[in-house]
């Protein structure tokens, strides 16, 4: 069945309209918008991890550390050094990217679970170092971080942030998508499928592994910086191994190696505890675990598999 252009266009327009209407639909429940914002930030970080694992075949059990570096760099620059917020976010992204380069070097020599252990070690030690530093507030965390500003406009309400994040998310996802369909993206996927074949074809394996790591780290750093200015509170333990595993779970549940997977995974991760209620919040952890197992065993493309099935059913 050849997908028809008209139908796909209609579906996309309807989807965009729905996304834009969400703040209006939940006008009476602003907390929902707040949670959606968090989900979008997580989706951003997860997209980085997805790029790394789903397309690059490189495991990272320390991805939360990139978020921490992005967030802390941006927050400290704004609060202590009174840097312009936009520049601070850029610095956060750059800082995370630089650290991605550092973590990327082990990936040149290690693969599989060796890399998993190395990233786990580096990721956990970042949280530990942040806890010891004075400038980051140490064990007390960093509180009263100013709220997000976009030039002259302060994005204080959840709805305004929602629109801003939708734009950021769309831009980043488009960038990832374009990257993956470019020459470099094909090289990255070739390295994932077989390093030896890729090398034989003239792909510079080491360079592309580093590029993937840096790109993934930058995206996570952006997510962390925006997170800092949204939540206005950072604490090192929030970015430890547990959250790294959380990000990993989101990308697996959403579907590794798919562009929309991170959004679905992050929405599932944030919304499920809300749906089943505070009393049964631990049950959510069980369901997350079972979803990961289910994704690996039955649906290798996770929740995206369902979306793809709906797409074929509707002949989009």
């Amino acid at each position: 069945m050849v997908p028809s252009r008209g139908r796909r266009l209609t579906a996309n327009v309807v989807l965009v309209a729905l996304v834009l209407m969400v703040p209006l639909i939940f006008r009476t429940k602003p907390s929902i918008i707040g949670y959606l914002n968090i989900a979008m930030l997580y989706a951003l970080a997860t997209q980085g991890l997805n790029l790394l694992m789903g397309f690059g075949g490189l495991v990272s059990l320390g991805h939360a550390a990139f978020m921490a570096i992005g967030g802390y760099t941006a927050a400290v620059l704004v609060m202590t050094y009174h840097v312009n917020m936009f520049l601070a976010v850029v610095a956060g992204v750059a800082g995370a990217g630089l650290f991605g380069l550092v973590i990327g070097f082990p990936s040149l020599r290690l693969s599989g679970f060796y890399l998993a252990v190395a990233t786990m070690a580096l990721g956990s030690s970042v949280a530990d170092v942040i806890k010891r530093l004075a400038i980051t507030g140490g064990d007390y965390g960093l509180s009263n971080i100013p709220s997000l500003r976009l030039g002259p406009w302060a994005l204080t309400s959840d709805a305004s942030r929602y629109y801003f994040f939708v734009v950021v998310l769309a831009l980043v996802f488009a960038a990832v998508r374009n990257f993956l369909s470019s020459r470099s993206g094909r090289a990255v996927r070739a390295v994932r499928d077989s390093e030896m074949t890729a090398a034989a074809m003239g792909v510079n394996v080491a360079a592309y592994k580093l590029i993937t790591f840096v790109f993934a780290a930058c995206i996570a750093g952006l997510s962390g910086a925006l997170y800092a200015f949204t939540i206005s509170y950072l604490h090192p333990t929030n970015f430890g191994l547990t959250f790294s595993i959380g990000l990993l779970s989101m990308s697996i549940i959403g579907g590794l190696g798919t562009i929309i997977g991170p959004i679905l995974g992050a929405l599932f991760w944030v919304m499920l505890p809300l749906i089943i209620g505070a009393k049964l919040t631990y049950l959510a952890t069980v369901i997350f675990g079972l979803s990961i197992i289910g994704s690996v065993v039955f649906l290798p493309r996770g929740l995206s598999e369902l979306v793809i099935r709906i797409q074929t059913r509707l002949k989009l």
Partner: protein
């Protein structure tokens, strides 16, 4: 001098904890090529079951110890039969993800069924700390140290002196060749998972009195156990035991001199070990395979 002897021996006791958990991970890793991220949480869940048996059902401690080992083994059998077997042919990555999912399931179940308030677990042996020359150790620490030695001995005898153990080691070298030679790989996998998970239960039960029982108590210990097996070489039970002890001692000495970098220090050492000599202290040197 006295201080350092004490620190070193305390460290040895802590290291025995890492060694016990690490040996369980290595047994599974070296045969099935699965890095079991659920090792710690399997033990945690078994310990909750044991706590329930001791406090509510009032089963005697010694029987609980046996039941806990059995419960661990049963969990291992279930994991191998219903999860690992169907995805064995997939990538390493999916197998690691499965165990991560499993660890979330155990954490959630423990918190859901037993509440997540920290509990005090009674030690196997009570009584005053024992003085060995200048060194003072609690009785439970000595039990853990002895258990590490005994477990290592049993595992060594199993892996090197029994038919099943040799079969398990042959699978780790080349699974296909092992099948060709008539080794029943499915049942060996079952056996290995049962042993590894039983060890997880035993280890958690022995070390929980030093900490408090809560759904996340094995988290950091498991990270240290991973460090231990990296240091010792990933395919050697002996390496895991020695690596665990080394990490325990070094960590304790570092914590005394530089308390701020206690947890990061070993992690950085692990990364350096991985980069400089990935085969660890006692592992076999391997050709890099693509």
């Amino acid at each position: 001098m006295n201080i350092f002897a004490n620190l070193a021996f305390r460290g040895l006791a802590t290291g025995a904890v890492y060694a016990l958990v690490g040996m369980g991970i290595v047994v599974i890793l070296q045969t099935t090529n699965v890095m079991n991220f659920a090792q710690g949480d399997t033990g945690m869940f078994v310990t909750y079951l044991a706590f329930f048996m001791i406090t509510t059902v009032k089963v005697p401690y010694s029987l609980v110890l046996v039941l806990a080992i059995a419960a661990g083994a049963i969990i291992g059998l279930i994991v191998e039969r219903f999860m690992m077997r169907s995805v064995r042919s997939r990538s390493h990555l999916s197998l690691i993800m499965l165990t991560l999912g499993l660890s979330l399931v155990f954490q959630g179940l423990a918190a859901f069924l037993f509440n997540s308030v920290p509990l005090l677990f009674p030690p196997l042996v009570t009584g005053d700390p024992v003085k060995l020359g200048p060194v003072i150790l609690s009785r439970q620490d000595i039990v853990v140290l002895l258990a590490t030695i005994v477990v290592f001995g049993i595992l060594y005898l199993f892996l090197y002196r029994t038919k099943q153990g040799v079969a398990a080691r042959s699978i780790s070298q080349d699974e296909y060749a092992a099948r060709v030679l008539g080794i029943p790989t499915p049942s060996i996998y079952m056996l290995i998972w049962a042993i590894g998970s039983a060890l997880a239960g035993l280890a958690a039960l022995l070390i929980v009195p030093r900490f408090s029982l809560e759904p996340s108590f094995m988290g950091l210990i498991q990270v240290k156990a991973f460090s231990a097996i990296v240091l010792g070489g990933m395919d050697s039970v002996f390496g895991a035991a020695v690596g665990g002890l080394i990490i325990g001692v070094v960590e304790n000495l570092v914590a005394y001199q530089f308390p701020a970098i206690k947890d990061s220090f070993m992690l950085i050492v692990v990364v350096i070990v991985l980069l400089v000599m990935p085969q660890g202290l006692f592992g076999k040197r391997q050709q890099r395979r693509f």
